[in-house]
Point group: C2
Chain length 339, copies 2
């Protein structure tokens, strides 16, 4: 009998590691393959960036509460976020769509409305893709091509000890938004006459349903003359993405609990749901903020930008990636993936 | 009640047309958006090419007879074929994979073996992508980035009257291979003790399970100093792809039935399956050959290439795209899509 190893025995990160191990790049214009937010391609006069992500119904979104227009927007935004994380400018996107016959033409129009709105907001052109029937609901696979000047690209693996650790926006809201939507769905399923109670939670809901790529910060950093030493987007949660950045850079990091940017509504929703707001901020995921490092002398240039929080610093002790708590303890930061 | 229009009322081509109508490109470096085999991006020193395609289990492939290694190869090859159709060279690919827990780690290894073999054969680097769980079997979405010199690009919409119409390889085999595999599957389901009878059909089976992108012909045309006036890859069937080429170029075409390249095994399989070999060649699809036009003075340069068949010519009568039969009749060529 042939050997059968369950995917679950490796977990998400183990499986990805196993796949990536066997892949060797050979072309001279492949500057960076797997392992960063986007691949980097030499275009002579600059670098090209290529990234791709898939959203699957029932895995990444639940159409009982996810409006198609928002979903279309999100599908583009999360891919643009990967280009932002390379300090790049997105240019062209392709969209592959799988559709079951449950969807009407009007539903598809709505989905495209959202995608087109995102294309307008991020100034990208939708240039291609593929539409096919699907046996299993809605599938959206998006690829983005972007460009960046060679001296402006930011990788994950170039953070240096004593750099300042920064994050944009706030964390944990998208995760709590999802928990609230899931809860209201259960209430509705139990009693279809109940109306969802989401008042006062509009911000956390919006963070889940309509995340934005932080292209605004990419432009603002350039205007301020700040080039991050390393950057990654926060899609899996701050903890997981910080671990990637540190592992690839061969550095450690200390994050101050009291510096984590958490919105007031996130605190309220966390209390309502009996979830620690710190856990939501560290492990929630889907924030699509930018986590980046800068040299200490850049501090003066970013400290007045309300979109940027300094949350800690980089160390040369790669064995320690820790949260410095309000009670002055150091707690190791650990990641979670799907299994 | 809201309006609900079924997708089936538009059909595949109608739906794609509706989606594409609403899409306007704005960036100065978007040279070509939707409407050709790949999007074309200005890179200053040349053009970039971007294309993306999705293969879904149960829609595009049936794993009861499709070996995973071949499937991995095919997923790359069909995308490379779109780059070939622009007369371009493929460079980087990204692969998004959706996997249900039915798949073992060994199965995923096999799939990647096939993808890596294709990457080696076509000299492309696998540079990124996304792996996620799926509720519905296996999904593969591949994007390819390629490059082409600005004066060597070939579009679909530039065929001229009196050009010669050429096609590479032979047609109809992949479709008949699929019909044979489907038939043997039904036999096996009815009686699991029956062994599949595929002897003597190895070529048509191989054309279905392991198609090749015609990069060889792209290189040979360049060596011969032949620049096609227009080119498209034959993925939906010669009829459908010829109609695209003619409609976009604003021309007509005459195809000679007795010039259609059809392999001996294709004739045999067609007889066995009681399918017209001409219908298979015109409407079968999945050949991944190149359909292209050249100026008449290029005839001497290609006539001795055994991989290329001259099948007809381009006319200025865009109302007539017809098959000139062996009996000297003219039959309009029509296309088929999914509905």
């Amino acid at each position: 009998m042939e050997a059968r190893t369950e995917i679950s025995s490796l977990g998400e990160f183990g499986l990805i590691k196993r796949i990536n191990q066997g892949i060797k790049n050979k072309l001279p214009d492949t500057i960076k393959g797997i392992g960063d937010d986007a691949a980097v391609i030499d275009l002579d006069t600059g670098y090209g960036l290529l990234t791709s992500d898939m959203l699957l119904e029932g895995v990444h979104f639940d159409l009982t509460f996810f409006p198609l227009k928002h979903l279309g927007y999100k599908a583009i935004a999360v891919n643009v976020s990967d280009i932002a994380a390379m300090n790049g400018i997105p240019h062209q996107v392709t969209v592959n769509l799988g559709l079951s016959n449950r969807f009407s033409v009007e539903a598809i129009d709505e989905l495209y409305e959202g995608m087109k709105a995102a294309c307008t907001d991020y100034n990208v052109d939708l240039v291609g893709g593929d539409t096919s029937s699907s046996l299993s609901g809605l599938l959206i696979s998006v690829s983005v091509f972007g460009k960046v000047k060679k001296d402006l690209i930011t990788y994950r693996n170039t953070a240096k000890p004593n750099d300042i650790l920064c994050v944009t926006g706030d964390l944990g809201a998208a995760y709590l938004g999802l928990q609230l939507l899931e809860r209201e769905k259960q209430v509705f399923l139990a009693n279809p006459n109940m109306q969802p109670e989401l008042e006062g939670n509009d911000y956390v809901i919006q963070r889940q349903l309509r995340p934005e790529a932080r292209m605004d910060v990419v432009y603002e950093l350039a205007e301020a003359g700040v080039l991050p030493t390393a950057m990654i987007d926060v899609s899996d949660g701050l903890a997981s993405d910080l671990l990637h950045l540190c592992a690839q850079s061969g550095v450690g990091a200390i994050v101050f609990e009291d510096r984590l940017p958490i919105d007031d509504q996130t605190f309220l929703a966390a209390t309502e749901l009996q979830i620690s707001p710190i856990t939501a901020a560290l492990n929630g995921g889907e924030d699509y903020e930018l986590l980046f490092t800068v040299r200490q002398d850049a501090y003066e240039l970013i400290k007045n930008n309300p979109k940027i929080s300094v949350i800690g610093y980089v160390t040369d002790n790669k064995a320690e990636i820790a949260l410095h708590t309000k009670g002055d303890n150091r707690v190791p930061i650990t990641a979670q993936g799907w299994s």
